[in-house]
Homo-oligomer: 196 residues x 2
DNA sequence: ACATAGACTTACCATTTGGTAAGTTTTCTG
DNA sequence: CAGAAAACTTACCAAATGGTAAGTCTATGT
């Protein structure tokens, strides 16, 4: 059975908004990519802003399921961080547009970002509690958990989504380099986090 | 004496492109901010793309001087990293648009990015050599220097330029939090980098 | 005094953009 | 099979956008 148009539009807009940006993507661009007319998009989503909202919702779901699938609630200590970093890199390789969109929205912070912001608040809140218990248990070094997570988040998302910086460093952003970047990032975080 | 119009345009476009994005900023927006007409801009810069090129050149200069002013060639070991991180945070607080533009260009990687890419290659090349010698000297833990720098760059620029993520973590992105973020980031990097 | 060049503004223009209105075709349902 | 709702397309439109052409004002050098 064919993929419903509504879903095809969302897939396409997620890719376009996430990789090229919101203002840089016109409804006509999206439509011609899909082989339909702009008005077909406006039939399913009453305005471009509504389309962005729905696209963000999709990205939140994708991000949530990618991370939820990786997080083994049993895991303790650094293993759990490693699982999450691996999942993030996997997502960055498979669907770079998802992290791209997250980043776009977290930076611009427009009206439609409320949902993503709250969804991220929940995830980050859990993460903060986890990191705190690990610190109390002596498995992680003492830092401000929120600042620590900010640094970890930035390092991982940055490494996973900045191919141009990799190029500037003389690294081709192919799969092999990405695998290597993942390994090095994990070791980097391990060194920073784990108590002696 | 008054600031020449050409410089005022560049200042304004650096702020606008760096904080809001290229496509999201129209020449009319820039012009009305400056109290001139769009054609005055096109008199000094023959097209919007040329304006972007000139703006990138300005950002490269600002970034270069900010970092060059901080880098004491005598400094060894972690002190030098700390100097650079402090300079980066200072720049992020004073002129967030500079890092914003760098980030914009490194992500999109359009035609105008050649100069910034090469300028960054030079800076990063020096950094790679520095990190390598520190590793050989046993002052830094052994990592792939390029991957290490990628992680450090991502962590610092991410922390310094993602106020929305700070908000999602329940931190107001004011000056005090930024100072705290700087301190924590430095400690985080110190833990990851310095050999025992 | 006067031509000249620099630094603009006013007046347009073609294209693109998000969006509306009014059909037309397809699909479901009674 | 009737008809109504869903899923579109064709035809527009007003505003915004990057850019051109031509005119105006002002300083400057001769």
């Amino acid at each position: 059975m064919p993929v419903p148009t509504r879903e095809r539009i969302l897939d396409s807009s997620l890719a376009a908004f996430g990789l090229r940006g919101y203002d840089s993507t016109s409804l006509d661009d999206l439509a011609s990519d899909l082989g339909i007319t702009k008005q077909a998009i406006l039939y399913h989503f009453s305005s471009k802003e509504h389309l962005l909202t729905a696209t963000i919702e999709l990205a939140v779901r994708e991000l949530g399921s990618a991370l939820a699938g990786a997080a083994d609630p049993q895991a303790r200590g650094f293993q759990r961080i490693e699982d999450l970093v691996r999942a993030t890199f996997s997502l960055a390789a498979r669907r770079p547009e998802v992290l791209g969109l997250v980043r776009l929205v977290t930076r611009q912070g427009g009206t439609a970002s409320g949902e993503l912001a709250s969804a991220m608040s929940v995830m980050l809140g859990e993460a903060v509690r986890f990191v705190e218990t690990e610190m109390v248990a002596g498995r992680f070094r003492r830092h401000d958990p929120r600042m620590l997570l900010l640094a970890v988040y930035s390092a991982v998302v940055g490494v996973a989504t900045e191919p141009e910086v990799m190029r500037a460093l003389g690294l081709e952003p192919d799969l092999r380099s990405l695998v290597k970047a993942r390994r090095e990032t994990i070791e980097f975080l391990r060194a920073a986090l784990t108590a002696d």
